[in-house]
Amino acid sequence: MNGLTRRSLLAKGGLVVVFASSGAAWAQEPEEAANLPGDLDKYPFLDSWIRIDTTGRITVFTGKAELGQGLRTALIQIAADELEVSPASIDLIMADTGRTPDEGVTAGSHSMQNSGMAILNAAANVRALLTDAAAWRFASSIDQIELQDGTAYGPGGRRLGYGDLAAGFSLHVMAKPDVPRRSKGRRLIGESVPRVDIPAKVNGGSAYVQDIRAANMLHARVVRGPSDGTQLKPADIDAVAKMPGIEKVVREGRFMAVLAAKEWHAVKALRRLQAAGWERRDSSLPSADLCDVIRQSPVRDNPIFNYPGPSAPADARIVKARYSRPALMHGSIGPSCAVALWENGNLIVWTHSQGVSPLRKSLAELVRLPLEKVRCIHVEGSGCYGHNGADDVAADAALAARAVPGRPVRMQWMREQEHGWEPLGSAMVVELHGALGRDGRIVGWRHDVWSNAHNGRPVSAGGLLAGAELEPPFAPQKPQPIPMPEGGGDRNANPIYALPNASGTHHFVERAPLRVSALRSLGAHMNVFAIESFMDEMAHAANADPVDFRLIHLQDSRAREVVETAANRFGWKRRVKGRPGRGYGFGFARYKNLGAYCALAMEVTIEPDGGTVDVRRVVAAVDSGEAVSPDGIRNQIEGAIVQSLSWTQMEAVTFDTSHRTSFDWSAYPIMRFPSVPASIEVDVIDRPGEPFLGTGEAGQGPAAAALANAIADAIGHRLRDMPLTSERIKAALRS
């Protein structure tokens, strides 16, 4: 059996954990330091990020996690590039509260900016130190030292390996902010280095958290009602405890889990318990449309932006529109999973949570342990696209493990549990009001967005599902809007276009009928969908070409270049207009006005009988600053486009007054191969020297908008409410 022993499990990454004596030796402690890039300012000591052992093997630490976005490879690439070693000689330790800096949550596309820049500069510092050390050892000057492939070369053929050199100085020194980057030699950054995790993944060997197996391990299933707000009816637990293979039924308050040595026994026990039925526990869900409910709920108003300008003239042409999207599901392909071990009063959890540090804090509170006795280690799960069930299942695993001290417990959520309990992307409504001057330019702009919270990540035990089930329950976290410039429901509500007399307000709706939290790109998907659809509507009113209209109002030069590149590559000016059933659409945004720029053009055909949309061609241009891995960027954008097309065309979480009815893939269909575009091209604009910009969430909004615009172009009628289904298109064609 390929199962790991417990010892080797803990040794994952090469380090045996000893809680009792080491104290703070390994745990990273933050310090304050100004002027350092990325998260280096919170962890300014070089050995927080980089260590070199006596053999020359380099370990790099990051508080960020691999989510399938290729971050592991990109960070290795950055470090290897700067340190002049091959990527294979670097071990990257990611997101382990016992070993890595606390970089918060891997979210918001911040990793390259926060961790990438930190590692880049830390590595530059280390390179400088290695160069200094070699110069000292060779009694030569610094510019006579050349570093290559882990060895320092000096005059007269002298050489020393990094391991040898590093033994002579300490990396526990603070980074200097002005150390220059490596200037000569072959670069890895800018090359599409093959992802280090793909070979194992395509041969079946990769270790996801779902794959962890340890000696003496128990399989667990948590037992709940079908979705948030429900609970299981009383069941014959004694009978289930006697089922073959069931080692324990854990019960604490309303929390319940079954444990078995064989996974299938746990599944059967779960099904038996669920046969007792369920009931709604919270107040009823609305029977009205969720968007209408949100639009009419009590709000807390937060101004988003306010650009002064003369009021629109009286003869300005007014355009008004209301856009909406339903609640959306993360829908991670692999339901969430965690492995927990409670031993000697310490808790370790292997988790695919995006935020091991806040999770650790929440778990410590949940199981009433001091913080230093809890450790969370990130192990890859399937794509999470935001806050899915990862944190909740970690809590479920912890509680189950506490009941069987000394035995690792693997808690696996079922598909319907992930569908039923994962926090959703909020339903949202945007109302736009624009004024066009006689010269065809925008002279007034008003953006109002209604939304639930886009962040419910646990920062305390009350943010975990199990926290509400224990007796006494922990107080639930109060939903809060995320302040700009990041934003939640208002993310990307602030248009990058240069608009006079423009303002926007975020109407934050605290009361959420369905559980909500961060879904990839947060409010940007909706806001960009609305803004970019509206730009087309304004362009139409001004009788202007949609791309020209955007360029008129776009002053940011990088934005202009991305728009022009996409349009030219697509052949926008050459498109043949007016063909029935064929349409072209354009969409553009800079993610958060801080991240990557993405513009894309799309061609669709629409089959009139069924209203089905066939996306023929997508051409995108993206500017992510200095492109560490151009292919990694392309991969992310292609994926974002397909994912967004699925959201925008097909998806809507359904529910009745008592529970979610989107319980599996048959009830919540997502895009399958036959509906995927015929072709997607991504053009990466490289900007060497510019800061790395997060790309993972840059494509969703522009793709959604381009689709809406292409459909409107094809059928002569605008759909403003997602999902843009074939039924709605057919209805529009008939009216």
């Binding site: 059996m1 390929n2 399938g68 976005q69 599409s192 093959p194 992802r195 995790d197 793909i198 070979p199 194992a200 993944k201 395509v202 041969n203 079946g204 060997g205 990769s206 996801y208 779902q210 794959d211 064989k262 996974e263 299938w264 026994h265 599944v267 829908g331 991670s332 392909i333 692999g334 339901p335 890859e380 799960g381 399937s382 794509g383 696209y385 696996q412 079922m414 598909r415 292919d631 991969n635 992310q636 292609e638 994926g639 974002a640 486009i641 397909v642 994912q643 699925s646 599996d664 893939w665 048959s666 997502i670 895009m671 399958r672 191969f673 036959p674 995927v676 575009p677 072709s679 997607i680």
Partner: protein, 160 residues
Amino acid sequence: MISLSVNGVAQSIDADPDTPLLYVLRDELGLHGAKFGCGLGQCGSCTVLVDDRPTFSCLLPIAALAGRKVRTIEGLGTPDRPGALAAAFDVEQAAQCGYCIAGMIMRAQALLERNNRPTEAELRTYLAPNLCRCGTHMRILRAVRRAAAAMGGGVQESSR
């Protein structure tokens, strides 16, 4: 004890006969390529080949497998000696989170073994039972096209 043939090796399994093959592969045999995605036959993450045909191992009890050949992704190759599809997926970097990929490769393997010259439409229809949430579809298609060519065939353009 139940006897199974997995990747050409006879295995003796101590598990209930109604245990779905997926759990036996992952928990008893240490073969983690096939994944749990839904357990409902809707996503294809658990796809393996049984007598050269693609099946959802999450819904296939081992009692049904006496005398039948099971093949998993581990049987197609290793990182050092990858099979044609694994090699193609690596070249095309056809993965983001990668969770669906083993199932995709097994499904594609079944297709290319029977017909290494499918049309584009046939290829897309054949892969339809397998879900990818990251949106890696374009690369997966490119990888299968590349593998088909490497296996002496090729995906034909259709009027799509």
